[in-house]
Symmetry: C2
Subunit: 417 residues, 2 copies
């Protein structure tokens, strides 16, 4: 892929998007299967490029956890190909009639799902985002402009070329998938301000990275991912259920955005519950931090400072806030949460109603782990990210989040009175 | 209303929004009826303030058309009050369950409509926007921060205080409706960057004004209103239908965004159609501008320059582009339109299908006037604006466009495998 100006890439994306918006589902699925086949056929070249990235990353002393995110293996590549075949089986949202009616003048109006147009994806090291984003935007009829991190650039170039070759092989425009091969900060900056061509920009990566994009972008951004998730345990909670859910939400995969970060606990049960919690979390090496009331019960834990309440640890750390009632719990959560996922453990009907109504978050749980906030767990079959904003899409985003609508109004000569 | 910092106004709005999000429909409707009553009760004070604005505008030699927009009369005030009573009768979108299902783990998920939170409105001279925006955002459970133009500031202050007093009279927080009384550029700039408190900013006014807001805002903006609307007359069109629709779309109210600005005409019928069009538009003093082929048929009309194709006149001017076929027409329209409203006049089934599928616009018409793009004409009962962007809302925006959703997931101890 030779280096093109962002202007050229943008124009090419718009031209490809016009073609994509008109494709039927069968054609798109054939292209997706060709992409999956391409990953298998090009395995040697893809893994060789990935080895180049890995070697460079080791020279640059990239952290071990990052190295693992960057690494592709034959197995991981086959999982990516299987993922593409899975996208081919998903229902196509384009052309769906979402509503329809007749006006007082006899105009027949229908609202129809259409692609957004050109989607920008800006992300950090993981090369699987290249394939996920390209195939999900393609299935929903959008052209995509990809800007991955420099650590994965050799891998990303081979992956993008594989997908582009697959498109060409079925007679579709390769520019439906374009990767910005120049990974300098300047191209990221330019992409964030490519207002003439981009319909939306979706950042994927750390909270810091996403905040930077929200700050600098002039194109519309869908904010994803920051998750400072709370679980409130009410005074009537079933201890076993609460402990099981907390252990799951905190330890099953602490580095992700839907992991639990904070326990809010009713004071009535704190003295009984906290020692059991400590015992349950000890095998997982979870560091506990508590407010004064929690420390009064568990004196050996760390003291939580004011900064803790707003912090997403993404680590084996859990901070504990003791409150006297549900109102206090809701006020604390609404003040510090990132509007991602919050849960209450209770068997009290009124509590469950008040919590789900008053908590401001993309997903509010009663008696379940916050870890379910995920496009696959929600049954969407795929996920382009988890929106933590209120405009356009909120919560796990499947294919529908990558669409817009248009109204079609059919008449027989109507003029306005 | 004393002058407060935008920070204070933002905090007060968030606090009020939390209360508003929990109100039932009956309570909101009672408040709306109190607001309507308030306009009637305060008529003398409102009209006196408006006279002050009018006198100042005349001193400032404001244009006559602007003066008319600024003017309130007893009749106009009663129409505003009737408008509020109408909003009270509209269905409340909040609490609507938009979808619901059970996951493989037995989680019961439902997606529920919730308010956006805090809506900012920034607009020019018309004082009726103050009342429209405040009541529509209120009915949909949002707090609003209003920033009107300096020309209407005396009127706006009395109107906003009237609405706030009505809220207080029914025991609701007055800060659900706040007007920024300082109309310097600095407060507009601050509002456009009030990211910590605003969930969305909606500009209302001229295309130039809206572009300025889109450019400078760091908060999410819903772009409204720019309309360079085309009507394509195919070679098989019924001439009488085409002429009736063009006269309506061009002349019924040329200053609005859904008025026709461009005629795209099939060359086969140009020689027959254009003289009839000229005759039909002459009584309305419409200035015609044509490309070379149109001028060859109507030599006395002005020549359209390249700049014409992208210009929204908002005036009694119509530019004519002659094309050889539908593909050319679609390419021209998709290149120059503002993605607002576009129409085809044809009796050909395949043409109607191709046009509605390939034209990229909020509303695409077959055999009807573009003037129907309007929340009231669409049957939404109200309109906060017409979105010309693809994210969140597209086309006429009713109450639903002022909402978001959240997922509520009810379980009985589910943990993620």
């Amino acid at each position: 892929m030779k280096t093109l100006s962002l202007e050229t890439i943008g124009q090419q994306a718009v031209t490809a998007a016009q073609v994509l918006s008109q494709l039927d589902t069968r054609t798109k699925n054939e292209a997706l299967l060709a992409m999956a086949q391409g990953l298998t056929t090009n395995e040697v070249a893809i893994l060789a490029a990935n080895q180049k990235d890995m070697a460079q990353a080791e020279v640059n002393q990239v952290k071990k956890v990052m190295l693992d995110r960057l690494l592709l293996t034959s197995e991981r590549l086959q999982a990516m190909a299987a993922g593409i075949r899975q996208v081919a089986t998903l229902a196509d949202p384009i052309g769906q009639v979402t509503s329809g009616w007749q006006t007082q003048d006899g105009l027949q109006i229908k609202q129809v799902r259409v692609p957004l147009g050109v989607v920008g994806m800006i992300y950090e090291a993981r090369p699987n985002v290249t394939v996920d984003a390209a195939t999900l935007t393609f299935k929903s009829g959008n052209a995509v402009i990809l800007r991955g991190g420099k650590e994965a650039i050799a891998t990303n170039i081979v992956l993008a070329n594989t997908l582009r070759d697959a498109l060409t092989s079925v007679g579709l425009p390769a520019d439906a998938v374009q990767l910005i091969s120049d990974t300098t900060h300047e191209t990221a900056q330019e992409l964030m301000q490519l207002n003439d061509y981009l319909d939306v920009l979706i950042p994927r990566g750390s909270a810091k990275f996403i905040n930077m994009v929200v700050d600098k972008a002039t194109v519309p951004v869908i904010e994803t991912g920051a998750g400072n998730c709370h679980i409130y345990v009410a005074e009537d909670a079933d201890f076993k259920m609460a402990l099981d859910i907390i252990v799951n939400a905190k330890t099953q995969r602490p580095s992700v955005c839907n992991a639990m970060e904070k326990l809010v606990l009713n004071s009535e049960i704190a003295a009984d519950f906290l020692p059991q919690l400590q015992a349950a979390l000890t095998p997982y090496n979870v560091t506990l931090r508590g407010d004064e009331r929690a420390k009064a019960i568990l004196p050996d834990i760390e003291a939580a400072t004011a900064a803790d309440w707003g912090t997403e640890y993404d680590d084996y750390i859990l901070a504990i806030k003791v409150v006297d009632n549900l109102d206090e719990a809701i006020a604390h959560i609404n003040r510090y949460n990132t509007k991602h996922s919050e849960a209450i453990i209770t068997n009290n009907y009124a509590y469950s109603q008040q919590f789900t109504k008053q908590i401001d978050a993309a997903v509010v749980y009663v008696n379940a782990s916050t870890r379910f906030t995920d496009g696959f767990e929600f049954g969407f079959g795929a996920e382009i990210g988890i929106s933590t904003q209120k405009l356009h899409a909120r919560g796990p985003m499947g294919l529908t989040a990558l669409t817009s609508t248009k109204y079609i109004a059919e008449g027989n000569g109507q003029i306005r009175q």
